[in-house]
Amino acid sequence: MEVTLEFCGGAETAHNRGEKFLTFKSENKEPKVSDIFAQVRRKKLIDDIDALIESDKDVKPGVLVLINDADWELFNEAEYQVCKNDRITFVSTLHGG
Protein backbone atom coordinates (compact mmCIF):
# COMPACT_ATOMS: atom_id res chain seq x y z
CA MET A 1 0.00 0.00 0.00
CA GLU A 2 1.18 3.47 -0.84
CA VAL A 3 1.52 5.79 2.15
CA THR A 4 1.74 9.58 2.11
CA LEU A 5 3.28 11.51 4.97
CA GLU A 6 2.82 15.27 5.12
CA PHE A 7 4.85 17.82 7.08
CA CYS A 8 3.68 21.21 8.27
CA GLY A 9 4.06 23.95 10.89
CA GLY A 10 7.81 23.70 10.52
CA ALA A 11 7.99 19.88 10.51
CA GLU A 12 9.04 20.30 6.88
CA THR A 13 12.58 21.04 8.04
CA ALA A 14 12.91 17.44 9.21
CA HIS A 15 12.86 16.16 5.66
CA ASN A 16 14.95 17.22 2.72
CA ARG A 17 15.12 20.76 4.03
CA GLY A 18 11.55 21.76 3.32
CA GLU A 19 9.87 18.87 1.55
CA LYS A 20 6.14 18.93 2.21
CA PHE A 21 5.25 15.33 1.29
CA LEU A 22 6.86 11.91 1.39
CA THR A 23 5.26 8.98 -0.42
CA PHE A 24 6.45 5.37 -0.25
CA LYS A 25 5.24 1.78 -0.35
CA SER A 26 4.38 0.22 2.97
CA GLU A 27 6.07 -3.11 3.72
CA ASN A 28 2.93 -4.38 5.44
CA LYS A 29 -0.28 -4.92 3.52
CA GLU A 30 -2.29 -3.57 6.44
CA PRO A 31 0.08 -1.39 8.44
CA LYS A 32 -0.59 0.32 11.73
CA VAL A 33 0.90 3.73 12.24
CA SER A 34 3.53 2.09 14.45
CA ASP A 35 4.54 -0.10 11.49
CA ILE A 36 4.88 3.02 9.35
CA PHE A 37 7.05 4.69 12.00
CA ALA A 38 9.24 1.57 12.27
CA GLN A 39 9.69 1.36 8.52
CA VAL A 40 10.53 5.06 8.25
CA ARG A 41 13.16 4.72 10.96
CA ARG A 42 14.67 1.47 9.63
CA LYS A 43 14.86 2.71 6.06
CA LYS A 44 15.89 6.24 7.08
CA LEU A 45 13.12 7.70 4.93
CA ILE A 46 13.02 10.98 6.89
CA ASP A 47 16.34 12.84 7.10
CA ASP A 48 15.96 14.10 10.65
CA ILE A 49 13.59 11.53 12.06
CA ASP A 50 14.64 12.31 15.62
CA ALA A 51 13.05 15.75 15.34
CA LEU A 52 9.64 14.14 14.95
CA ILE A 53 9.50 10.55 16.18
CA GLU A 54 10.41 9.41 19.69
CA SER A 55 9.63 5.71 19.21
CA ASP A 56 7.47 3.47 17.03
CA LYS A 57 4.51 4.44 19.19
CA ASP A 58 5.20 8.04 20.05
CA VAL A 59 6.25 11.40 18.71
CA LYS A 60 8.39 14.15 20.22
CA PRO A 61 6.74 16.64 22.58
CA GLY A 62 5.44 19.53 20.51
CA VAL A 63 4.61 17.38 17.51
CA LEU A 64 1.03 16.50 16.60
CA VAL A 65 0.08 13.64 14.31
CA LEU A 66 -3.02 14.02 12.18
CA ILE A 67 -4.90 11.37 10.31
CA ASN A 68 -6.97 13.03 7.60
CA ASP A 69 -6.91 16.35 9.46
CA ALA A 70 -7.89 14.94 12.85
CA ASP A 71 -5.69 14.37 15.91
CA TRP A 72 -4.43 10.78 15.91
CA GLU A 73 -5.53 10.55 19.52
CA LEU A 74 -9.07 10.29 18.20
CA PHE A 75 -8.06 7.07 16.43
CA ASN A 76 -6.05 5.28 19.13
CA GLU A 77 -2.73 6.85 18.10
CA ALA A 78 -0.06 4.45 16.82
CA GLU A 79 -2.52 1.53 16.90
CA TYR A 80 -4.54 3.04 14.09
CA GLN A 81 -4.93 0.78 11.06
CA VAL A 82 -3.89 2.89 8.08
CA CYS A 83 -6.33 2.83 5.15
CA LYS A 84 -5.87 3.52 1.46
CA ASN A 85 -5.75 7.27 0.70
CA ASP A 86 -5.23 8.19 4.35
CA ARG A 87 -3.03 11.23 4.80
CA ILE A 88 -0.74 11.17 7.83
CA THR A 89 0.48 14.62 8.82
CA PHE A 90 3.18 15.72 11.25
CA VAL A 91 2.52 19.18 12.67
CA SER A 92 5.14 21.06 14.65
CA THR A 93 3.38 23.16 17.26
CA LEU A 94 4.33 26.82 16.99
CA HIS A 95 5.08 29.04 19.95
CA GLY A 96 6.03 32.42 18.45
CA GLY A 97 3.86 35.49 18.58
Binding site: K20, K60, T93, G97
Partner: protein, 285 residues
Protein backbone atom coordinates in the same frame (compact mmCIF):
# COMPACT_ATOMS: atom_id res chain seq x y z
CA UNK B 1 -17.82 40.11 35.50
CA UNK B 2 -20.05 41.59 38.17
CA UNK B 3 -19.70 45.08 36.75
CA UNK B 4 -22.78 47.24 36.22
CA UNK B 5 -24.17 46.43 32.78
CA UNK B 6 -24.74 49.31 30.41
CA UNK B 7 -26.98 49.52 27.36
CA UNK B 8 -26.09 50.89 23.92
CA UNK B 9 -26.30 54.60 23.22
CA UNK B 10 -27.86 55.92 20.03
CA UNK B 11 -24.51 56.85 18.43
CA UNK B 12 -23.32 53.31 19.15
CA UNK B 13 -26.18 51.88 17.09
CA UNK B 14 -24.89 53.85 14.12
CA UNK B 15 -21.28 53.04 14.86
CA UNK B 16 -21.71 49.28 15.18
CA UNK B 17 -24.45 48.97 12.56
CA UNK B 18 -22.46 46.63 10.31
CA UNK B 19 -22.23 44.00 13.03
CA UNK B 20 -25.51 44.76 14.79
CA UNK B 21 -27.39 43.66 11.68
CA UNK B 22 -25.85 40.20 11.83
CA UNK B 23 -28.48 37.89 13.32
CA UNK B 24 -25.84 36.18 15.46
CA UNK B 25 -24.89 39.52 17.05
CA UNK B 26 -27.85 41.92 17.21
CA UNK B 27 -28.46 44.21 20.16
CA UNK B 28 -27.96 41.46 22.78
CA UNK B 29 -24.61 40.48 21.32
CA UNK B 30 -23.39 44.06 21.01
CA UNK B 31 -24.46 44.80 24.57
CA UNK B 32 -22.52 41.74 25.71
CA UNK B 33 -19.49 43.17 23.90
CA UNK B 34 -19.61 46.66 25.39
CA UNK B 35 -19.93 45.10 28.83
CA UNK B 36 -17.11 42.58 28.33
CA UNK B 37 -13.44 42.65 29.24
CA UNK B 38 -10.50 40.94 27.60
CA UNK B 39 -6.91 40.37 28.69
CA UNK B 40 -4.43 40.50 25.82
CA UNK B 41 -1.13 38.94 26.84
CA UNK B 42 1.61 40.20 24.53
CA UNK B 43 1.40 43.43 22.51
CA UNK B 44 3.56 42.11 19.68
CA UNK B 45 2.83 40.56 16.30
CA UNK B 46 -0.36 38.82 17.37
CA UNK B 47 -1.45 41.32 19.99
CA UNK B 48 -1.62 44.22 17.54
CA UNK B 49 -4.44 42.94 15.27
CA UNK B 50 -6.24 41.43 18.28
CA UNK B 51 -6.24 44.81 20.00
CA UNK B 52 -7.25 46.72 16.88
CA UNK B 53 -10.17 44.51 15.91
CA UNK B 54 -11.57 44.04 19.40
CA UNK B 55 -11.37 47.77 20.16
CA UNK B 56 -13.07 48.53 16.86
CA UNK B 57 -15.76 45.92 17.59
CA UNK B 58 -16.69 47.62 20.84
CA UNK B 59 -15.19 45.50 23.61
CA UNK B 60 -15.68 47.49 26.79
CA UNK B 61 -12.47 46.94 28.73
CA UNK B 62 -8.96 45.78 27.95
CA UNK B 63 -6.10 44.51 30.06
CA UNK B 64 -2.77 44.68 28.26
CA UNK B 65 0.26 42.69 29.39
CA UNK B 66 3.75 43.36 28.02
CA UNK B 67 7.02 44.39 29.63
CA UNK B 68 8.77 45.41 26.42
CA UNK B 69 9.50 48.66 24.63
CA UNK B 70 8.96 49.25 20.91
CA UNK B 71 12.07 48.44 18.87
CA UNK B 72 12.73 49.28 15.21
CA UNK B 73 12.67 45.60 14.23
CA UNK B 74 9.12 45.28 15.64
CA UNK B 75 7.47 47.66 13.16
CA UNK B 76 7.88 45.10 10.38
CA UNK B 77 4.95 43.19 11.87
CA UNK B 78 3.60 44.98 14.93
CA UNK B 79 1.49 47.39 12.95
CA UNK B 80 -0.04 49.51 15.69
CA UNK B 81 3.42 50.62 16.83
CA UNK B 82 4.64 53.43 14.58
CA UNK B 83 8.16 54.62 13.76
CA UNK B 84 7.67 57.46 16.22
CA UNK B 85 6.84 54.96 19.00
CA UNK B 86 10.39 53.60 19.07
CA UNK B 87 11.48 53.33 22.71
CA UNK B 88 7.93 53.70 24.05
CA UNK B 89 6.41 50.99 26.26
CA UNK B 90 4.38 48.63 24.08
CA UNK B 91 1.45 48.77 26.50
CA UNK B 92 1.35 52.57 26.22
CA UNK B 93 1.46 52.52 22.44
CA UNK B 94 -1.28 49.89 22.39
CA UNK B 95 -3.41 51.84 24.85
CA UNK B 96 -3.23 54.91 22.60
CA UNK B 97 -4.47 52.86 19.66
CA UNK B 98 -7.40 51.54 21.69
CA UNK B 99 -8.38 55.05 22.72
CA UNK B 100 -8.03 56.33 19.15
CA UNK B 101 -10.31 53.57 17.82
CA UNK B 102 -12.72 53.51 20.74
CA UNK B 103 -12.61 56.38 23.20
CA UNK B 104 -15.19 54.73 25.46
CA UNK B 105 -13.13 51.59 26.11
CA UNK B 106 -11.34 51.21 29.46
CA UNK B 107 -7.71 50.15 29.40
CA UNK B 108 -5.69 48.58 32.23
CA UNK B 109 -1.96 48.36 31.72
CA UNK B 110 0.25 45.60 33.10
CA UNK B 111 3.78 46.63 32.24
CA UNK B 112 5.30 43.44 33.61
CA UNK B 113 6.15 39.80 32.93
CA UNK B 114 3.14 37.69 33.83
CA UNK B 115 4.23 34.74 35.96
CA UNK B 116 3.13 32.38 38.75
CA UNK B 117 3.19 35.19 41.31
CA UNK B 118 0.64 37.40 39.56
CA UNK B 119 -1.19 35.42 36.84
CA UNK B 120 -4.15 34.14 38.86
CA UNK B 121 -4.98 37.59 40.16
CA UNK B 122 -4.54 39.38 36.81
CA UNK B 123 -6.53 36.81 34.82
CA UNK B 124 -9.37 36.79 37.35
CA UNK B 125 -10.29 40.37 36.41
CA UNK B 126 -11.25 39.53 32.83
CA UNK B 127 -13.91 37.62 30.91
CA UNK B 128 -11.49 36.16 28.39
CA UNK B 129 -7.77 35.82 27.76
CA UNK B 130 -6.11 36.08 24.36
CA UNK B 131 -2.71 34.37 24.31
CA UNK B 132 -0.49 36.45 22.02
CA UNK B 133 2.74 35.39 23.68
CA UNK B 134 5.99 34.33 22.10
CA UNK B 135 7.15 31.51 24.37
CA UNK B 136 6.21 28.09 25.70
CA UNK B 137 6.44 28.82 29.43
CA UNK B 138 3.81 31.56 29.35
CA UNK B 139 1.50 29.39 27.30
CA UNK B 140 1.48 26.73 30.04
CA UNK B 141 1.08 29.49 32.64
CA UNK B 142 -1.95 31.04 30.95
CA UNK B 143 -3.52 27.65 30.37
CA UNK B 144 -3.24 26.77 34.05
CA UNK B 145 -4.22 30.25 35.27
CA UNK B 146 -7.40 30.27 33.15
CA UNK B 147 -8.36 26.79 34.31
CA UNK B 148 -7.68 27.28 38.01
CA UNK B 149 -9.96 30.30 38.47
CA UNK B 150 -12.26 30.17 41.51
CA UNK B 151 -15.35 31.19 39.56
CA UNK B 152 -14.82 28.72 36.74
CA UNK B 153 -12.60 28.31 33.73
CA UNK B 154 -11.92 31.48 31.73
CA UNK B 155 -11.85 31.03 27.93
CA UNK B 156 -8.38 31.13 26.38
CA UNK B 157 -7.93 32.05 22.71
CA UNK B 158 -4.49 30.84 21.71
CA UNK B 159 -2.49 31.77 18.61
CA UNK B 160 1.08 31.35 17.41
CA UNK B 161 3.09 32.40 14.38
CA UNK B 162 6.56 31.63 13.07
CA UNK B 163 8.13 32.09 9.64
CA UNK B 164 5.19 31.72 7.22
CA UNK B 165 3.06 29.54 9.53
CA UNK B 166 0.20 30.22 11.90
CA UNK B 167 -1.86 28.12 14.31
CA UNK B 168 -4.97 29.09 16.30
CA UNK B 169 -7.17 27.26 18.78
CA UNK B 170 -9.58 27.96 21.65
CA UNK B 171 -9.62 26.32 25.08
CA UNK B 172 -12.77 26.74 27.12
CA UNK B 173 -15.48 25.06 29.17
CA UNK B 174 -15.23 21.30 28.73
CA UNK B 175 -12.66 21.19 25.95
CA UNK B 176 -9.19 19.80 26.20
CA UNK B 177 -6.58 22.19 27.57
CA UNK B 178 -3.07 23.06 26.41
CA UNK B 179 -1.69 20.35 28.71
CA UNK B 180 -3.95 17.71 27.10
CA UNK B 181 -2.38 18.54 23.76
CA UNK B 182 1.11 19.01 25.19
CA UNK B 183 1.52 16.81 28.31
CA UNK B 184 5.27 17.45 28.14
CA UNK B 185 7.05 20.62 27.05
CA UNK B 186 9.16 20.42 23.89
CA UNK B 187 12.92 20.14 24.24
CA UNK B 188 14.31 23.69 24.41
CA UNK B 189 16.59 23.12 21.44
CA UNK B 190 13.61 22.14 19.28
CA UNK B 191 11.86 25.46 19.86
CA UNK B 192 12.49 28.22 17.32
CA UNK B 193 11.38 31.76 18.04
CA UNK B 194 10.70 34.70 15.74
CA UNK B 195 14.09 36.28 16.45
CA UNK B 196 15.89 33.15 15.27
CA UNK B 197 13.49 31.83 12.63
CA UNK B 198 11.88 35.02 11.39
CA UNK B 199 8.24 35.74 10.74
CA UNK B 200 6.08 37.44 8.10
CA UNK B 201 4.05 40.32 9.54
CA UNK B 202 0.94 39.60 7.52
CA UNK B 203 0.92 36.02 8.82
CA UNK B 204 0.69 37.52 12.32
CA UNK B 205 -2.22 39.51 10.93
CA UNK B 206 -4.02 36.37 9.79
CA UNK B 207 -3.51 34.66 13.14
CA UNK B 208 -4.42 37.68 15.25
CA UNK B 209 -7.51 38.43 13.19
CA UNK B 210 -8.74 34.85 13.58
CA UNK B 211 -8.05 35.14 17.31
CA UNK B 212 -10.07 38.35 17.42
CA UNK B 213 -12.96 36.69 15.57
CA UNK B 214 -12.99 33.85 18.10
CA UNK B 215 -12.77 36.21 21.08
CA UNK B 216 -15.57 38.33 19.69
CA UNK B 217 -17.88 35.33 19.31
CA UNK B 218 -17.28 34.19 22.87
CA UNK B 219 -17.69 37.68 24.33
CA UNK B 220 -20.85 38.34 22.31
CA UNK B 221 -22.32 35.08 23.57
CA UNK B 222 -22.30 33.26 20.23
CA UNK B 223 -22.24 29.48 20.66
CA UNK B 224 -19.99 28.52 17.72
CA UNK B 225 -16.26 28.56 18.24
CA UNK B 226 -13.00 26.95 17.20
CA UNK B 227 -13.02 25.06 20.51
CA UNK B 228 -12.03 21.42 19.87
CA UNK B 229 -10.37 22.34 16.57
CA UNK B 230 -7.28 24.16 15.34
CA UNK B 231 -6.77 26.33 12.29
CA UNK B 232 -3.45 25.80 10.52
CA UNK B 233 -2.27 28.40 8.01
CA UNK B 234 0.76 28.01 5.74
CA UNK B 235 1.32 31.42 4.17
CA UNK B 236 4.13 30.27 1.90
CA UNK B 237 2.09 27.54 0.23
CA UNK B 238 -1.18 29.45 0.65
CA UNK B 239 -2.86 26.50 2.26
CA UNK B 240 -5.16 26.58 5.23
CA UNK B 241 -7.34 24.07 7.05
CA UNK B 242 -9.23 23.38 10.20
CA UNK B 243 -8.21 20.21 12.04
CA UNK B 244 -9.92 18.32 14.86
CA UNK B 245 -8.19 18.09 18.24
CA UNK B 246 -8.47 15.44 20.92
CA UNK B 247 -11.08 15.85 23.68
CA UNK B 248 -10.16 16.37 27.33
CA UNK B 249 -7.64 13.72 28.39
CA UNK B 250 -8.69 11.75 31.49
CA UNK B 251 -5.03 11.61 32.53
CA UNK B 252 -4.35 15.34 32.08
CA UNK B 253 -2.56 16.68 35.13
CA UNK B 254 -4.58 19.89 35.06
CA UNK B 255 -8.09 19.12 33.75
CA UNK B 256 -8.13 15.34 33.99
CA UNK B 257 -9.78 13.14 36.57
CA UNK B 258 -7.19 13.48 39.32
CA UNK B 259 -6.51 17.21 38.99
CA UNK B 260 -2.91 16.88 40.16
CA UNK B 261 -2.07 20.51 39.48
CA UNK B 262 -3.97 22.65 41.95
CA UNK B 263 -1.84 25.77 41.85
CA UNK B 264 0.56 27.54 39.51
CA UNK B 265 4.06 26.06 39.21
CA UNK B 266 7.40 27.48 38.08
CA UNK B 267 6.89 27.36 34.31
CA UNK B 268 10.39 28.48 33.39
CA UNK B 269 11.72 25.56 35.43
CA UNK B 270 9.13 23.18 33.96
CA UNK B 271 9.95 24.08 30.36
CA UNK B 272 13.64 24.70 30.76
CA UNK B 273 13.09 27.87 28.78
CA UNK B 274 12.71 31.52 29.64
CA UNK B 275 9.43 33.39 29.54
CA UNK B 276 10.37 35.58 26.62
CA UNK B 277 11.95 34.99 23.23
CA UNK B 278 15.27 36.67 23.98
CA UNK B 279 17.26 34.49 26.38
CA UNK B 280 16.01 31.11 25.49
CA UNK B 281 17.78 28.36 27.35
CA UNK B 282 18.52 28.24 31.02
CA UNK B 283 21.26 26.33 32.73
CA UNK B 284 19.31 24.29 35.25
CA UNK B 285 22.12 23.07 37.45
Amino acid sequence: RNRPQRTLSLPEFQRYSRQLILPEVGRPGQENLVNSSVLVVGCGGLGCPVIQYLAAAGVGAFGLVDNDVVDTSNIQRQILHMESDSGKLKVLSAAETIKNLNSSASVYLFNLTIDSSNALEIVSQFDLVVDCTDNVATRYLLNDACFLQKNGRIPLVSGAALRWDGQITVYKEDSCCYRCVHPNPPAPESVTNCSDGGVIGAVCGVVGSIQATEALKILAGIENSLCGNMIIYDGLRASTRTIRLRPKRPDCKLCGERKEIKELVDYVQFCGMSANDKDKNLDLL
